[in-house]
């Protein structure tokens, strides 16, 4: 397929990118790796007049520690491949590295970026639910300066975020999850496919009990979701299969999964319960 004509700019700085986006109005789109946008253009499902490519802005790449808070600060244009192999991410946010390893295929992981994936906000994408479970924060730059949006407020609806048209996601801030067990349980029909359902689990254990659990759900609604009822039931529960299974039975509460060629809502709800049980047990080191 051949996309319709568009203009293309590749700014060198964040300020220039924001200015260009602002001037371009609603016909301008950010190109942040292109693993979702380019197929959309080729299928002529969107007709932006201007693409602003963030691929050559050095400060948008890489991972560092914020000395004040100890949080990881991940540049929005850091590729999936670089996230997976970054030592800071592996040490302090292993869930993100593990989940990113399941994204699509090697070609996509070398071009696609964390910020691009989060800004696209596809509820079938793996990383939004992971950032939700990690209680991450998104830092957006716009004509009015920078602001920080917690992950739980960032994903607004299907393919919609809290970013304004002239804002650029520049950083993802992830609190350290040292000492938390983690697991991303992805259920897809083929290895490179979208998750039918995915469950991102973080578990903090104290003396054989689950002190705290955080569970993000992929593809169980128009946005990534937290399985709050299950999280509450797990707090203080014994880290044993029966207790976890009982808590996981509530994993689909409050979700509104869609129908597609791979799954009905009922099947997705069933999968959410089974996969949540498995993810939590794996994160708790029980299985």
């Amino acid at each position: 397929m051949i996309p319709a004509a568009f203009d293309y700019v590749r700014p060198d700085t964040i300020d220039e990118a924001v200015r260009t986006l602002h001037d371009g109005g609603e016909d301008a789109k950010v190109l942040a790796g292109g693993q979702s946008l380019i197929p959309i253009l080729r299928l002529r499902l969107a007709f932006p007049e201007l693409l602003v490519d963030l691929g050559r802005i050095p400060e948008l790449r890489g991972v560092r520690e914020d000395p004040a808070t100890g949080s990881l600060v991940i540049g929005a244009m850091t590729t999936h491949h670089d996230v997976i192999h970054d030592p800071l991410v592996r040490r302090h946010a292993g869930l993100l590295a593990a989940a990113t390893e399941t994204v699509a295929d090697p070609a996509v992981r070398h071009r696609g970026t964390l910020g691009g994936s989060l800004s696209h906000a596809d509820p079938a994408g793996d990383l939004p639910a992971v950032l939700l479970a990690l209680d991450g924060e998104m830092v957006a730059a716009g004509p009015r300066g920078r602001r920080t949006v917690p992950a739980r407020e960032f994903f607004v609806d299907y393919l919609r975020t809290a970013l304004a048209d002239d804002e650029v996601l520049v950083e993802i801030r992830v609190p350290r999850a040292d000492g938390w067990g983690f697991h991303y349980e992805k259920f897809s029909r083929v290895a490179q496919g979208w998750a039918i359902v995915g469950v991102a689990a973080l578990v903090r254990r104290v003396d054989g009990r689950i002190a705290e659990a955080r569970i993000g759900l992929t593809n169980m609604g128009s946005t990534p979701l937290r399985a709050r009822t299950t999280e509450a039931a797990l707090a203080g529960a014994e880290a044993v299969p029966a207790a976890v299974a009982s808590a996981a039975d509530a994993a689909a509460e409050g979700t509104r999964p869609a129908t597609d060629l791979s799954a009905t809502p009922e099947y997705r709800a069933h999968l959410a319960r089974v996969l949540t049980r498995r993810a939590v047990l794996a994160a708790a080191g029980t299985e």
Partner: protein, 795 residues
């Protein structure tokens, strides 16, 4: 042969895993894929396709497209009707078959989503794509015809209103008295299986470059096709370009799986536009365009009934098929199910067989050949049914097969369907497969998992199969009302420098003919492998050929190379005898050298002889100069590869996921030219057969739109989704051809689908599951388990 000569003989080429000589350029892409071809003044064709089906075209206006930048021409179906005849179907399987008109571009009515309605030609590919958006079309939707049984109802809307019916044909085959056999049977089992529609997914999409007669007096069509020779005949008829002025070239072609065993409207349109505009025209389809408009495969409902004794002896088989033709008849659409008609009895003996196939029109993409073409469907139905019968009788499925298959000492054996299987050894292949698989150990594990109610169950699936390959004896094709023959041609030219040029009428698109034909010729001629060049895929360079499909190339085309090489040696022997002043009878020919028995110093190499025939200075009286031998093979019989495939699958009853744990196949494809290439064919075939069992399905919504329209929704499995395959072979040479070969292109696809589904059902049978529709998706498996448990709880 003397001891001396034997020691000097080089290792034979046939049987060696030669690295493919064509691969370096194919895998780097630095070669002539059709889309890489460019030529001065090239224009680009883009095709506007119907967004719905079926519909009446109330108004169509291409004038606005003409105003777009770079646009040279824009035409409707009606405009093109003056340039082109209808696209033909060459397999009218019955006398009363309904054959609707099939214009290359729709006129007044569209019958499937994706059918061409207008074309635009522009100076650039982007300009052509943009201009499509300017074409104005008003449609009135018509009622879709989707289900095969619904299509045959009296009040069904019609795909072709003028034909008065959606029934294309009904084709019967009856041998023995099935009713009598059924009457004496202890067990009669009836099952219905559905062969979902599949999308072929060749790696290279279709592509065409048509050039007008400017530099020479001929039209040239470059096309990513499996069938340049067939295309030349058909396209000369459709376009009116005299056949002798049309050259068709299939450059390097990246896969086909039957989807390029076709002559497409886009090829005819490109030629017509090159003629009309006097400029070369290129068209390359996109993947999503191909999903709608490249023909689909499978698409059948199979009602199969088997009659047997309580000891498991098969008495008779009855098969009633509904086959989805789609909206039009393509090149050989109606004949595809009939390639399976003869294969339902499989490797088994029985007393009666009755078969009926009804072709049905629907408002979907036309169907036609897809890897295996009729035979995978047949093998699936009989092999699924054998497992069901075994379960019904409480027999091990292997044991049931043993009680019914043709024993090796019974060959040649004429099957109940009338085919004469020349050779085979089902016992040997099965015993080998069972040993490699560890059958007894896996059965023990299966029982153990059941006993402890493991949510992950183990299933074991079996598939034995044979297929008819080497298409095809021309007289059989006559009896089946196919319009052409099934022969194949080869020539071998000895060049003055002693090098060798082989031409073949086969048209490889990934199979490795250049390598294998070189191996065959090298052994006969005694020349080095690297001294041989194989020329193919160009009707000017290779005037005669019937192209590549149906596991025919080696069995028919490779055989032609072998016989042509023997003719070269026969002539060379006469020349050598003349030059050596010896009797032909006293000449030995070893490793490319003629020598006189008893005078080892008197020799001539075949290269010496080649030069002598080129100079022609000293040839026997009356002999023509040069050596240029041709041979055409029209086979007497099909060939019959067979094999035993075993699949162990783990089915997670909680999620429905099925994961193949081990897969063993032992195929008997007769003599092998290149084991590495055989291995590749088997691996690819297994992947495609497993894909049908677990992953792939062309899905239409209730309005007739293809909803699995991209690779995000139509799931082609990749390496991580497939197990490590354990492949082995037994070697029972074919007796119907001099090379002893049987063909391997389709074997893996044919055998693997039922092996996998049998394994899924075997895993779940104790839970009460008797079938899972293909593809066995996690949701379907989960649903089957859920339903069976609910039913079990009620009873």
């Amino acid at each position: 042969m003397t001891a001396q000569a034997t020691t000097d003989a080089p290792r034979p080429e046939v049987g060696r895993s030669r690295t493919r000589k064509e691969d370096a350029r194919l895998v780097t892409g630095r070669t002539t894929w059709t889309d890489n071809i460019t030529t001065p003044g090239l224009l680009y064709l883009a095709i506007l396709r119907s967004p719905m089906a079926p519909a009446r075209i109330d108004r169509i206006d291409v004038a606005p497209a003409l105003e777009r930048p770079g646009v040279i021409a824009a035409l409707t179906g009606r405009d093109l009707a003056d340039e082109l005849g209808p696209m033909p179907c060459v397999w009218p399987v019955t006398e009363d078959i309904v054959m609707p008109d099939h214009p290359a571009v729709a006129v007044d009515e569209v019958r499937y989503a994706g059918e061409p309605v207008a074309v635009v030609v522009a100076r650039g590919r982007y300009a052509a794509a943009d201009a499509l958006e300017a074409v104005e079309v008003d449609y009135t939707p018509l009622p879709p015809v989707l289900g095969l049984e619904a299509a045959l109802a009296d009040d069904a809307p019609l795909v072709h209103a003028g034909k008065g019916t959606n029934r294309c044909y009904t084709w019967p085959l009856d041998t023995g008295n099935y009713a009598a056999q059924k009457a004496r049977a202890d067990v009669v089992l009836r099952r219905r299986y559905t062969q979902q529609r599949l999308i072929p997914n060749a790696m290279e999409p279709r592509a065409v470059v048509a050039t007008p007669p400017t530099a020479s007096n001929e039209y040239t069509l470059y096309s990513a096709t499996q069938v340049p020779h067939v295309a030349r005949v058909i396209l000369s008829m459709v376009t009116g370009i005299p056949e002798q002025r049309l050259r068709v070239i299939a450059p390097d072609v990246g896969g086909g799986f039957g989807s390029k065993l076709q002559v497409y409207g886009e090829e005819a349109v490109a030629l017509a536009l090159a003629r009309k505009l006097g400029r070369p025209v290129k068209w390359t389809e996109s993947r999503s365009e191909g999903y709608q408009a490249t023909h689909h495969g499978r698409g059948q409902i199979q009602d199969i009934e088997i009659a047997a004794t309580k000891d498991g002896e098969i008495l008779g088989l009855s098969v009633d098929l509904l086959a989805d033709m789609g909206a039009y008849l393509m090149l050989i659409t109606p004949g595809i199910p009939l390639l399976g008609a003869f294969m339902y009895p499989g490797i088994y003996k029985m007393n009666a067989y009755t078969f009926r196939c009804t072709g049905v029109f629907t408002t979907k993409t036309p169907t036609d050949a897809y890897r295996g073409a009729g035979r995978p469907e047949a093998t699936f139905a009989i092999e699924r049914t054998m497992d069901e019968l075994a379960a019904e009788l409480g027999l091990d499925p292997i044991e049931l097969r043993r009680r019914n298959w043709i024993r090796h000492e019974e060959f040649p054996y004429t099957s109940i369907a009338g085919l004469t299987y020349d050779s085979g050894n089902y016992e040997a292949a099965t015993d080998r497969a069972l040993a490699l698989f560890g059958y007894d150990g896996l059965r023990a594990e299966q029982r153990e998992r059941r006993a402890r109610h493991d949510p992950v169950r183990l299933g074991i699936g079996i598939s034995t199969f044979t297929e008819m390959c080497g298409l095809a004896p021309s007289r059989v094709l006559r009896d089946l009302r196919y319009a052409a023959g099934g022969w194949e041609a080869a020539t071998i030219r000895m060049l003055p420098t002693g090098k060798v040029e082989v031409t073949t009428g086969t048209s490889p698109h990934g199979q490795g003919h250049a390598t294998c034909w070189s191996q065959i010729a090298a052994d006969v001629l005694g020349v080095p492998f690297d001294d041989i060049e194989v020329v193919h895929g160009d009707t000017r360079a290779v005037p005669q050929g019937m192209d590549t499909y149906g596991s025919r190339s080696l069995v028919v085309g490779g055989l032609a190379v072998h016989h042509a090489a023997l003719k070269v040696v026969a002539k060379a022997r006469r020349v050598a005898a003349h030059l050596l002043e010896a009797n032909e009878a006293d000449l030995e020919f070893t490793a490319g050298t003629f020598s006189v028995r008893g005078s080892p110093e008197a020799t001539k190499t075949i290269q010496d002889v080649a030069y002598a025939t080129f100079s022609s200075h000293d040839l026997p009286d009356g002999m023509e100069p040069t050596i240029n031998a041709g041979h055409l093979v029209d086979p007497d019989n099909f060939s019959y590869p067979h094999g035993t495939h075993l699949c162990a699958i783990e089915v997670d009853t909680e999620t429905g996921r099925a994961r193949i744990r081990s897969y063993v196949c032992v195929d008997d494809i007769g003599k092998v030219i290149n084991p590495m290439i055989v291995q590749g064919q088997i691996h690819g075939g297994l992947a495609q057969g497993i894909a049908q069992a677990l992953y792939e399905e062309a899905v239409y919504d209730t309005e007739g739109n293809l909803v699995s329209g991209t690779m995000a929704d139509y799931l082609v499995p990749a390496a991580p989704d497939l197990p490590d395959f354990v492949t082995d072979r037994t070697e029972t040479p074919a007796t119907s051809n001099a090379l002893g070969v049987k063909g391997v292109g389709e074997a893996g696809t044919i055998a693997s689908t039922p092996a996998v589904v049998n394994a899924v059902v075997d895993a779940l049978r104790p839970l009460g599951v008797r079938d899972v529709a293909m593809p066995c998706t996690p949701q379907r498996i989960w649903q089957a388990v859920t339903d069976a448990r609910a039913k079990g709880a009620r009873t």
